[in-house]
Symmetry: C2
Subunit: 277 residues, 2 copies
Amino acid sequence: MSSIENGWFREMNDQWPGYSVGLKIEKILFEGKSPYQDILVFQSSTFGNVLVLDGCIQCTERDECCYQEMIAHLPINCHPDPKQVLVVGGGDGGVVREVLRHPGVDKVTLCEIDEKVIEVCKMYLPNMAVSMSDPRCHVHVGDGVQFMKEHKNCFDIIITDAPDPIGENLWLDLPIVEQLLYGCRSLFPSTGYAFAGMPTYASGQIGFVMASTNPDVTFNEPLRVLSDEEIAEMGLKFYNSDLHRAAFVLPQFAKKVLYPAVNGDGGKKTAVHDADT
Amino acid sequence: MSSIENGWFREMNDQWPGYSVGLKIEKILFEGKSPYQDILVFQSSTFGNVLVLDGCIQCTERDECCYQEMIAHLPINCHPDPKQVLVVGGGDGGVVREVLRHPGVDKVTLCEIDEKVIEVCKMYLPNMAVSMSDPRCHVHVGDGVQFMKEHKNCFDIIITDAPDPIGENLWLDLPIVEQLLYGCRSLFPSTGYAFAGMPTYASGQIGFVMASTNPDVTFNEPLRVLSDEEIAEMGLKFYNSDLHRAAFVLPQFAKKVLYPAVNGDGGKKTAVHDADT
């Protein structure tokens, strides 16, 4: 449904009918089809290079720090000793880059089904994809669900960075977030939902559903609180520990739906799932 | 620069070049020109009725609760006894509606320069404009700056809800927010900056610059903490006291610029200005 007209990319999708984010195109860098999806990369006039899969904006160089940092550092900073991390999807490499900022992490496995995405991102989004050359990163091309079945209990944290769009955010997809969170609650003793502002995502927001097998995890209170100096050393642009806590505080309309009984504090309750999985 | 094409309204502006929010039009309800601006109201397919001034989306029925509640309740809940409130601009009546939810408020004065906006909103945005019929609301048609000059020290709180666009938010206008906040710091002993997610505003965000002549005001900690029951009684959809605190917690890139020395806690430090004034 998305379109390129008069030099603009217009994102349109049945998941958020009647609403569209547009970015002005400076130059189309890549347009192709893999066995899995349509892949488009363009240089935008004000948001840097942009990756689009099946018509949905995945990341732009200008605001990717929000998405990549939050989806990585929220769970990692809630884990006492994260050594082995699996990233499912995320073939741009941005999440791997963020995970590797943690000195305690020994190994990140990236399981991406679409080799073409990896190849294109290495070419056009080098600041994200560079992480895949790190010796601590192992790239596996294959199906994430299958990989997880074959590698049970191998990872301290699983981050699902699967492609849009399925139910990301509070404004447009609250019933889907509700369903996802309730599903997680039936399977995990600890769950939580956080969100952050993301200019180039529909409704300007991205959400994160988190779940842990450890009943003592409290997602809205990081175990590892970072000083400004540590954040500067790690090279973070978006995440900080106060923002970690604040990301779980919901608008009243969402709190009523997602936390009807528990007063909506973001919740006690480290597999991590991006809300759109 | 904004356009109507193929049944979509596309917001475009020099303040955020290369980026555009689009809303699908169901029906144009009003299109006209006042002595001050172009006025457009349309029924959108998924965001309710939409008010557009000089090509900039001012409010939609679907997400106006965020803007109107935050710009009103952030300052009001930081004031020990707000009785007289001035709203400059805001001819849609939404901010007045929110101010009047506080039982302690005796009178709200709405100073709107453009009578046509008031008239059009009464017709097409009745859930906002209804507030102007409240006996506690006094509507003055005239220039806000002039009115404030003639009514010094008459109000406990002044809320400037002036039209877009001038420098609202962290992603697109950080240097403008910085300049505005530093200007306020040179004039007021207490200042603060808060933000909230707003799907139909450029980059999905709206910011609020706050300033008080009272050195004891701490904007990021409300004086009046509301229970869920009180919030339900007041009819709030978006605001709650935890969200009040969280709205001052900035991403690291913004904290570094706006609070370079004070560790970015949103600040000690009740005239209130929407960031776009």
